[in-house]
């Protein structure tokens, strides 16, 4: 005679699917664990990759800004200021009138001593200490003529010598710095847009 328990067992056995018997429940549990964990692991990897990429982008933006702020911008403004002052007050602009010429030469000497030579010193300082901020496509060789000219001019102001004629101001340098500056600005703006 069938007891109530036997009946229960019979019902249970007859409705069991394949995955509810044997090791399958264990396998299923393990699979669920593996899948959920790998999804969350994948998410973690993705987000860390995104963070790393963003970090690199930020660092690149920082580096480009640094190149502009500590190298190209000050070089451009200092050299441009000096060139403008030379064209506005330099010896070639001295007037014909004797008295006016004396005054003009006095003004020029003051400007040379108080603005042009200190600016030149700053340019040399930047070139000597911050050349690691040069753009990848720029080279310190491009600045050799400028460096020689600045050193030679400093000596020329103390000792008048014709040796200085061998080291003229490289006319192309301001244009070159301006071009590199524009390029860096474009690169920087592009990075900011896509970030």
């Amino acid at each position: 005679m069938l007891t109530f328990l036997d009946f229960e067992f019979y019902i249970a056995q007859s409705t069991n699917h394949w995955y509810q018997s044997g090791n399958w429940p264990l396998v299923g549990a393990i699979l669920v664990l593996v899948i959920t964990n790998s999804v969350s692991l994948y998410e973690v990897i993705l987000s860390s990759r995104r963070i790393y990429r963003n970090d690199i982008k930020l660092k690149n933006i920082e580096l480009l800004s640094n190149k502009l702020n500590s190298f190209y911008n000050p070089l451009y403004s200092l050299l441009f200021a000096n060139q403008s002052l030379f064209f506005a007050f330099g010896p070639r602009t001295f007037p014909d009138n004797h008295i006016r010429r004396e005054a003009a030469s006095e003004v020029w000497r003051e400007i040379r001593g108080n603005v042009i030579l200190p600016n030149n010193d700053r340019v040399l300082e930047i070139l000597e200490e911050k050349s690691h901020l040069l753009h990848e496509e720029d080279g310190i060789q491009t600045y050799t003529e400028l460096i020689n000219h600045l050193h030679s001019y400093k000596v020329f102001c103390e000792i008048t010598t014709e040796v200085h004629n061998r080291f003229p101001f490289p006319e192309y340098i301001i244009e070159h710095i301006s071009r590199m500056r524009d390029r860096l600005l474009k690169e920087l703006n592009a990075m900011k847009v896509f970030n």
């Binding site: 070639r92 001295f94 007037p95 014909d96 004797h98 003009a104 030469s105 008048t160 010598t161 014709e162």
Partner: protein
């Protein structure tokens, strides 16, 4: 181009000299008849160079007098002019030199 108007006017004030202008040079004579020919650079020649000294020599000049305030003489030009008998000096020295020279009769 010489710019000698101011120097010419100033030299004329020294009574023991006879002063004339010959093209780009100022001719000064003392009473013994000795003479010097002075060149004074213009504002484009703000550094007296060897080239300028040579040009002055070709013109027959033997003194280059320049205003100390806006002009200077290169070391090379100083040496070159000394070797070639050309005196290169600022205006102040030129006046001293000419006064002493003119007083020697």
């Amino acid at each position: 181009m010489a710019d000698n108007y101011w120097l010419y006017q100033e030299l004329r004030r020294i009574s023991i000299l006879r002063v004339n202008r010959i093209e780009e040079l100022i001719l000064v004579r003392n009473w013994s008849g000795n003479e010097h020919k002075i060149y004074c650079p213009d504002h484009s020649e703000y550094v007296v160079t060897i080239d300028l000294v040579q040009r002055v020599m070709e013109m027959g000049g033997d003194i280059i007098s320049f205003p100390f305030s806006w002009c200077s003489c290169s070391m090379e030009a100083k040496e070159f002019s000394k070797r070639n008998g050309v005196l290169t000096m600022p205006h102040g020295e030129t006046f001293d030199f000419l006064e002493r020279w003119a007083a020697r009769r």
